[in-house]
Amino acid sequence: MLSVFKDLIRYNREFTIGLLLVSLIVIFACLSFFSPYPAQDIYVVIPDQPPSWQYWFGTNSRGQDLFWQLSFAFRNTLTFGIIVAVLSRLISITIGLASGYLGGWVDRILMFFNDIFVAIPIFPILILFYFVLRSDLNTYTLAVIMACLGWAFDARLIRSVALGLRFREFTRQAIFAGMSPRKIMMEEHLPYVMPIVFSTAMANMIWSIGFEVTLAVLGFTNINIPTVGTALYWANNHSAMVVGVWWWIIIPVVLLVMMFLGLFLLAVSINEYIDPRSRLRRMGS
């Protein structure tokens, strides 16, 4: 594993750049553990200071040092995105593989639910959840809800791959080797859907963070928890852009873009690594 990693770093530029970007953001997010200021305190520094040596990312109109504030925000947002991505991957893999492999009425029932989840407008539901849960709607709760709403699309993709695998000879071989359906799905078919899982995980993160930002900007999340979304909410609340405190908006956006670019590059290069086709070619035959 480690050698693979080394190889990837040495020979795959995309991987290296991606890793660099993502590590930067992750390290940045982890710095929040060493923040000299509590996350929610306001008016701890002079407000509205542009980026400088003293305040690398400037300060916002709430008197917070943006460097530390954003490191909290990225920690929470990253955690949120990862939880959503992981949970919804678990659901979509389970549903997709089961639906594709088991077929028949299982498939029909699962896809019926899938269709519902696809057609349901998510936004009203999220807002309703906010009104029901209010400040209990923290990062984790929201992540779980988003995960429950965000699997349908990818489950269908996974299903279509699994559907093809179902009729492959090695699947039948596995059946007659006495493997249980669970084992076949998880050990035989899963590797084939991993590339999809990776690339959709990435898309899912963008999607969920986008939603978080949307909700936060409208004030429909717990705005006391620093996230990228609430950072933008507060910036908006203080008319940051028209007032000229551009760094309050531009810096988180740049960091966000860096993070996704990094994730994207990682996904692409890892994909190539785990894609059965290219893996076979690499192993030589």
């Binding site: 990837l8 020979y11 795959n12 070619r281 690499r282 030589g284």
Partner: protein, 342 residues
């Protein structure tokens, strides 16, 4: 003699780079051969021996990572000489389908699944034929009927046709412009015997009618026996023997050929047939010397170190074996004398 194609010392490798480690698969390794006008040349060999790779070079259908590293390929069409490995895009376009056409391996997937057959025909042949509208359509229908296909297939989508029909459509596509040179890669694999025979006889008919040359590939020796005028045997990227069909079958001069022609049982004959032992060589790391030596019953020390040259042993018959004189037909090999029983 009237040669249409000259291949000299052709080397075509798959050059691959994975995370900095470069590997080459020597799929075509130093092949020299020539094809004459109005003949059917069969290429045989086990799978992964480089047949398709060679064909791709000949058909100017190379895609990275396949690259020609050495040698030349020359076509002679109407006194014009053209090397498909170096020719410009325009030159290639000029000869394509009019002079040179190609039936790709896997006829199941070479037709655009969302396009009606007639549109595909128009895409492929309208320009080279220089016909338009009804004239073109008539020409296509006529051609299809010679392939025993009703005109209604033109309105169909590929998935609506059976495997045999699709194969015939592909052959129709490749031959509708009456090219001088047809390259066919396993045109009958995956067809049942009845259909296979039909398709083969059709290709032959067209070839004879147009006087074109055909190079075709299959590993089914009985197809070669009935189709080809000459046969080339490829083993691990090398041409190991080449000669007129009868000689190849009845008097092979390479142990691998001898094995190939003898390996298949025949109805009415229950002699125990031995299988070729060992594993086909890895083209990324082929054995030194004669590449067949690890599996060869006749192998001597020399075979392990020295590459045997392709020597002419008879008219039109060349072989690359240090011990060709010792090669004898194996037990159960066809003799040409034994009438197919009953």
């Amino acid at each position: 003699m009237d040669t249409v194609l000259d291949v000299k010392g052709l080397k075509a490798y798959y050059l691959m780079k994975y995370f900095g480690i470069s590997r080459e698969v020597r799929a075509v390794d130093d092949i020299t051969m020539s094809i004459r006008r109005n003949e059917i040349y069969g290429i045989a060999g086990e799978s992964s021996s480089g047949k398709t790779s060679l064909i791709k070079v000949l058909a100017a259908a190379m895609r990275p990572p396949l690259e020609v590293v050495d040698g030349s390929v020359r076509y002679h069409f109407n006194g014009e000489e053209i090397d498909p490995t170096t020719a410009s895009k325009e030159d290639l376009k000029r000869i394509r389908w009019k002079h040179l056409s190609y039936i790709m391996q896997g006829s199941m997937s070479v037709l655009n699944p969302v396009r009606r057959i007639e549109r595909t025909f128009a895409d492929f042949a309208k320009e080279p034929l220089g016909l338009s509208g009804p004239a073109f359509r008539e020409r296509v229908e006529q051609h299809l009927s010679s392939l025993k296909l009703p005109p209604s297939v033109l309105r169909s989508y590929p998935h609506e046709l059976s495997g045999g029909m699709r194969q015939r459509v592909t052959i129709g596509l490749a031959t509708v412009c009456h090219p001088e040179f047809i390259i066919a890669d396993e045109p009958t694999t995956a067809l049942d015997v009845v259909v296979q025979k039909e398709v083969l006889s059709m290709i032959r008919e067209i070839q004879q009618k147009m006087g074109s040359s055909v190079v075709f590939v299959t590993h089914d020796m009985s197809v070669h026996a009935n189709m080809a005028d000459r046969i080339g045997i490829i083993y691990a990227g090398r041409l190991v023997e080449e000669g007129p069909t009868r000689q190849m079958f009845f008097a092979p001069k390479h142990p691998y050929t001898a094995h190939l022609v003898a390996s298949l049982p025949r109805i009415g004959d229950t002699t125990q047939r031995p299988a070729l032992e060992g594993k086909p060589p890895n083209l990324a790391d082929p054995p030194p010397g004669c590449r067949f030596h690890p599996r060869c019953p006749l192998a001597i020390d020399k075979c392990r170190t020295d590459v045997p040259p392709l020597e002419t042993v008879d008219t039109d018959h060349r072989t690359a074996c240090w011990r060709w004189q010792d090669v004898r037909p194996l037990d159960g090999a066809p003799t040409g004398k034994m009438e197919a029983q009953l």
